[in-house]
């Protein structure tokens, strides 16, 4: 009985170790590609992106990436920001230029209701955040006196999305004030929530 179970477990773990060895690289590559795509989607064309960095904002740590133009000047930041939505955290990549303008946003993950909150991934909603200047457009849903049109029947999601963007803008300001804050953590990827 013991021998039998041991053998099965041994064979199974050997098999898994083998497959893991083969797939570890593509899995890591896919995760990196996903992050890079997200950075590229939220910022104008850039020359080079930094490693993952982290910044402390209101007692929590947030991950971000700096991007540089050809001369090596910082062009903007891609910030991972999250806010509690209806079905869990709405996690975004927000591109903020050095002058504080939101260039674009991209949903990294969410668990909102299909057909309602999940519409936050559709252009009708998230195009509102393209090249948005927080000094002229109030980052809040209209119901709360802001300038963002909420998704019909999904105010909580719209609110979470908007708050996450507003938070990213504030984080960008923090990063700019204290440049080289806490340095580089090696790029470990995964859908790490910055909750």
């Amino acid at each position: 009985m013991l021998i039998c179970l041991t053998t099965i477990c041994l064979v199974c773990s050997a098999l898994l170790a083998g497959v893991y060895a083969v797939t570890a690289e593509p899995i890591a590559a896919a995760a990196v590609k996903k992050t890079n795509d997200a950075i590229a989607a939220v910022l104008p064309q850039f020359e080079k992106a930094s490693e993952e960095k982290s910044v402390l904002f209101e007692g929590k740590e947030y991950k971000y990436y700096e991007v540089y133009d050809i001369e090596g000047e910082v062009m903007g930041y891609a910030i991972k920001s999250a806010e509690g939505g209806f079905g869990g955290p709405v996690s975004l990549m927000v591109g903020v230029l050095t002058d504080g303008v939101v260039y674009n946003t991209n949903v990294l993950s969410h668990a909102e209701t299909p057909g309602l909150g999940a519409k936050c991934t559709e252009p009708a909603f998230h195009d509102q955040f393209i090249e948005l200047n927080p000094s002229t457009t109030k980052l809040d849903v209209k119901k709360n006196g802001g300038d963002i049109d909420a998704i019909t029947a999904a105010t909580i999601t719209s609110n979470a999305y908007t708050k996450a963007v507003a938070k990213a803008v504030a984080i960008a300001a923090t990063i700019k004030e204290a440049p080289q804050a806490e340095e580089v953590e090696p790029v470990t990827e995964g859908g790490s929530e910055n909750e």
């Binding site: 099965i8 477990c9 199974c12 098999l15 497959v19 893991y20 797939t23 896919a30």
Partner: protein, 194 residues
Amino acid sequence: MSKLKYTVNGILKDNPTFVLLLGMCPTLATTSSAINGMSMGLATLFVLVLSNIAISAVAKFIPDKVRIPSYIVIIATFVTLLQFLMQAFLPSIYETLGLFIPLIVVNCIVLGRAEAFANKHTVLESACDGIGIGLGFTIALTVLGLVRELLGNLSAFGWKPVEGDGILVFILAPGAFLVLGYLIVLFKKLTGNN
């Protein structure tokens, strides 16, 4: 030829979703669209065929007392394997189904077939049974997903010919129950399987 019987049985007479009513958790949860339903079905098919083959091959060496733990270890191995492969090569599908892939381990269809079929039949028969049950599950999930997507979002496999919103409730959890109920009725009617 006679082996083919097991495959057909799995799709019609023993259809896991419409007749055996097994594996309801992934059935209801992943069928919010036809693509998701089909992917979940195919993932289960993959695990089912491999676990049926492996279990039928080693069943006679496993003492009765430890057969369930052994089956679970074997099934979990294939599921983890599938998870690695999907993560590496189909990351977008993995993202939608991610949560439900590990749950295949405890999907009663897989363990049910191991216990009810694979440990009493030859490797070839078990493989045919795995394909049949797996296809039956895939077809059921695809149809369920398709109906829900059509009614709830006016689209099929992501193709949306008309603008507008569907009847939202069909994409939400209660819609899954409603559609499943009607599909079971329809299936029984069509197969004369009362």
